[in-house]
């Protein structure tokens, strides 16, 4: 239509099935040229599948997609001239230096011969990798590797760029640095499709956000309107027990217009006027002799978006197929005995860690040193998780997990490991403490290591769990935090990790 700009990316009824599994169930969206579009969703929502179709890696099972007017299935060759890809779906060669990787991609992106070297230099400088440019990638830290990964997507100066979870696993500084670069790209006229699990990231970068869940788009809006739907701030109270929580819920329901949601011993409330509401809430609780054991005030997270849009949690994948749309009440996830056993195991394990943690501090610091120098520490790392902290705790956890009704090795442990690592990141975004910030980099590091094949598939599920739990504890200890942080956020994370692991392996298998 004349007068109307053609979208840079057009997706219509896009479907992808693997046998019985429907990764994409017909999604639609358009991305105007020169904007950033965010695909927001949890693991397994279909984000990566969409990116893989758009970047011509796989073919759709139905529907169509266009990049700058070229059909991704029928005109793949043309599309490839116009796109750059970074993130989960693409890798760099760990044995090549940063510069060599960029030059290789430059040649393969069909840059003119003379442009290859200057382009590599230019990108190294822009991503602050000039000094590291002549070192093999395997010596890079997680953040450096990710910067190079994004740089690799830009080598051919593509007008459309796909960034598949570009900051998953990065610490906050590296993440912020990448955000700046991404914003610059758009300022130069590129169109960016970004997938992320972080509302904060989508909010920061994207002009428009499509929220994806179970292979369908559940919302497509600007970040501002999405947040407006949610209320600006979430207040979460932890009470002594469920009975008190119910009392508190009833109490709060009379106080504020927004309906408070309850899950277990927690009550959650979203509001546009956090300060006033919080004061009121606390006064009222006090007057009724109800004591809150914990209070969190935070910006809405991905989990809140999901809760509000779908009535279920972000990580409760396909738990209940039945459509209960409109029900805003928080449906409590059924706690299986398996999860309870795991939670108990983690509980006890962390008790052991607390005792053993003081002696572990110097070891953790030394390990950390070497970790940055990037030696082959996988085995040691495992041993560390098992033995370095609290004697036979690792063995006990493993034996407890071994009793659980799931079969290890029935799926790709790799995928589960990734999920676990990402759960850690989700947890960081939710609980947002500085300790967990570094836990998240450990988890991200594991994800990367696993992606580059240095952690083999054969790492058992149990090992994966203990590595991650060990990582949490180790990082918390190394940062000099008290046992309390292990009890709080660290434990939360560990429990989360185990729960996701179990859901991933056990209940689905």
């Amino acid at each position: 239509m004349p007068g109307m700009a053609r979208p840079a990316i057009l997706v219509e009824g896009l479907k992808k099935s693997y046998g019985e599994i429907h990764a994409l169930n017909g999604i639609d969206f358009q991305v105007p040229a020169g904007t950033i579009f965010g695909l927001l969703g949890p693991n397994g929502a279909g984000k990566t599948t969409a990116v893989r179709i758009l970047s011509t890696i796989i073919k759709p099972s139905g529907g169509r997609a266009e990049v700058l007017g070229h059909d991704v299935a029928r005109q793949a060759a043309e599309v490839r001239m116009l796109i750059g890809l970074a993130g989960q779906s693409a890798a760099v060669d760990p044995n090549l230096t940063g510069r060599e990787n960029l030059k290789l991609i430059g040649k393969l992106a069909q840059l003119p011969r003379k442009a290859v070297n200057p382009r590599a230099d230019e990108l190294l400088e822009r991503f602050q990798l000039t000094e590291a440019g002549d070192r093999p990638i395997r010596t890079y830290s997680g953040g450096m590797r990710r910067r190079l990964d994004v740089a690799a997507a830009l080598v051919g100066k593509p007008p459309v760029i796909f960034l598949d979870e570009p900051t998953t696993g990065l610490d906050i500084q590296s993440r912020t640095e990448l955000w700046v670069v991404i914003e610059e790209l758009v300022a130069e006229g590129s169109t960016v499709l970004l997938t992320t699990q972080y509302l904060e990231e989508a909010d920061q970068l994207a002009d428009r956000i499509a929220v994806v869940n179970d292979g369908v788009v559940v919302a497509n809006d600007t970040a501002a309107s999405l947040k407006a739907r949610l209320g600006n701030t979430v207040i979460e109270l932890t009470l002594e027990d469920e009975r008190r929580a119910r009392q508190a819920q009833q109490l709060l329901a009379r106080l504020v217009t927004e309906h408070p949601e309850r899950a277990g011993d927690k009550v959650r409330l979203s509001t546009g006027q956090a300060a006033q509401v919080l004061t009121q809430v606390l006064r009222s609780l006090d007057a009724n002799r109800i004591t809150a054991t914990g209070i969190t005030v935070r910006e809405p997270s991905l989990d809140d978006v999901f809760l509000s849009l779908t009535g279920k949690h972000a990580d409760a994948k396909q738990a209940n197929g039945g459509s209960k749309k409109g029900s805003r009440s928080r449906r409590r996830r059924k706690r299986t005995p398996a999860i309870e056993v795991a939670v108990k195991a983690v509980d006890e394990w962390i008790g052991d860690i607390e005792q053993g943690s003081q002696s572990a501090v110097p070891e953790v610091a030394a390990f950390d040193e070497r970790w940055h120098q990037e030696e082959d520490l996988d085995e040691e790392w495992e041993a560390f998780g098992d033995e370095g902290l609290g004697e036979d705790a690792g063995a006990r956890l493993e034996s407890l997990l071994a009793q659980l009704p799931y079969k290890a090795g029935t799926g790709s442990v790799e995928a589960h490991l990734t999920e676990v690592a990402e759960a850690a990141l989700n947890c960081y975004m939710d609980e947002s403490t500085k300790q967990l910030l570094d836990v998240s980099s450990v988890a991200g590091y594991l994800t990367l290591e696993q992606r580059f094949g240095r952690i083999s598939d054969r790492v058992s599920a149990e090992q994966a769990a203990s590595i991650l739990i060990g990582a949490t504890a180790a990082r918390a200890v190394s940062l000099g935090s008290s046992a309390a942080s292990l009890n709080g956020d660290g434990k939360e994370f560990a429990v989360n990790a185990v729960r996701i692991l179990l859901e991933g392996i056990g209940e689905r298998a």
């Binding site: 109307m4 700009a5 053609r6 840079a8 105007p32 040229a33 020169g34 904007t35 893989r52 970047s55 011509t56 890696i57 796989i58 700058l68 060759a77 490839r80 001239m81 116009l82 796109i83 750059g84 890809l85 989960q88 779906s89 693409a90 890798a91 760099v92 060669d93 760990p94 044995n95 090549l96 060599e100 290789l104 991609i105 040649k107 393969l108 992106a109 069909q110 840059l111 003119p112 442009a115 093999p136 690799a152 051919g156 100066k157 593509p158 007008p159 130069e188 006229g189 590129s190 169109t191 002009d207 992606r451 580059f452 094949g453 083999s456 598939d457 054969r458």
Partner: protein
């Protein structure tokens, strides 16, 4: 957001659509650099044949009777073939590693030639194998191997060895794509390779084997190529067929395997990732 913004297609600047040769060279270069960066792999490729040379030349050689007299002269051509056969495993491991790491996915999103990934892998392995074969020839001369034909024939022997290695790297690159995991590739390949290498004329004369094994041992590709390389290096040995017969059969095997494997590898590559 401005609807007035012009589509930034021009941003890409001048880009030519791909030249396959340039892509193959780029991927070959990358693979050779990888080989250089992980020299352990090359060293392991070399250690095994050296152990075999020592084992067969000095430990068991005295007890092995071969037609034509000199066992070291019989052995070394066999070692060439054994080296490139086991070495071909590197092609499977390399391919599987690239698949697993996600590098192949990036390649698939690039406007490069579809065949360059496989061609680049096998070409790099061709260079590696040439290097290895020359080194093993050096080891052979050190332990007393002597060419009994002429320089031209011996050069042809080395060339045939390298050709066979190239054929094998196509076979094992396909295996790598099929298996998709470096460790599994390694574990799966050895039991398949071992009968070809050991039930062959590489180390002992086929006539010394039990009757039921001789048919396989005489005609399978490793034997045929080993016999051809031996004929080119030390001439026709008693009981053997003329060298030219072996060479023709060896070339036929190489051509046959390539004709089957290359399309298989390419179609597999298109379906993978």
């Amino acid at each position: 957001m401005s609807a007035a913004r012009v589509e930034p297609v021009g941003l890409a600047g001048p880009k030519k659509s791909g030249s396959t040769l340039r892509d193959i060279l780029a991927v070959t270069g990358r693979n050779l650099t990888s080989i250089r960066r992980v020299p352990q792999l090359l060293v392991f490729t070399l250690i095994q044949p050296v152990i075999f040379v020592v084992l067969f030349r000095y430990v068991m050689g005295g007890a092995i009777e071969v037609p034509g007299g000199s066992y070291v002269n019989y052995l070394i051509p066999g070692i060439f073939i054994q080296t490139v056969t086991f070495g071909a495993l590197q092609s499977a491991i390399g391919m599987a590693a690239d698949l697993k790491s996600g590098l192949l996915e990036r390649f698939r999103s690039l406007p490069m030639s579809r065949s360059a990934v496989l061609a680049g892998r096998t070409t790099a392995d061709l260079f590696r194998n040439t290097f290895v074969v020359i080194l093993i020839a050096g080891v052979g001369f050190l332990v007393g191997f002597r060419v009994e034909t002429g320089p031209a024939e011996f050069a042809a022997a080395l060339a045939l060895t390298v050709l066979f290695s190239y054929v094998l790297s196509w076979v094992f690159a396909t295996v790598g794509l099929l298996v998709g995991d470096p460790e599994s590739a390694q574990a799966a390949a050895f039991p398949v390779m071992a009968p070809f290498v050991f039930a062959s004329s590489a180390f002992v004369a086929v006539d010394s084997m039990p009757d039921w094994l001789q048919g396989f041992a005489r005609h399978q590709p490793v034997s045929v190529v080993a016999s051809a390389v031996r004929g080119l290096s030390i001439g026709q040995i008693p009981g053997a067929e003329p060298t030219s017969v072996y060479v023709l059969r060896a070339l036929a095997w190489c051509a046959g395997i390539l004709v089957v494997t290359v399309p298989l590898a390419v179609s597999r590559y298109r379906k993978t990732v």
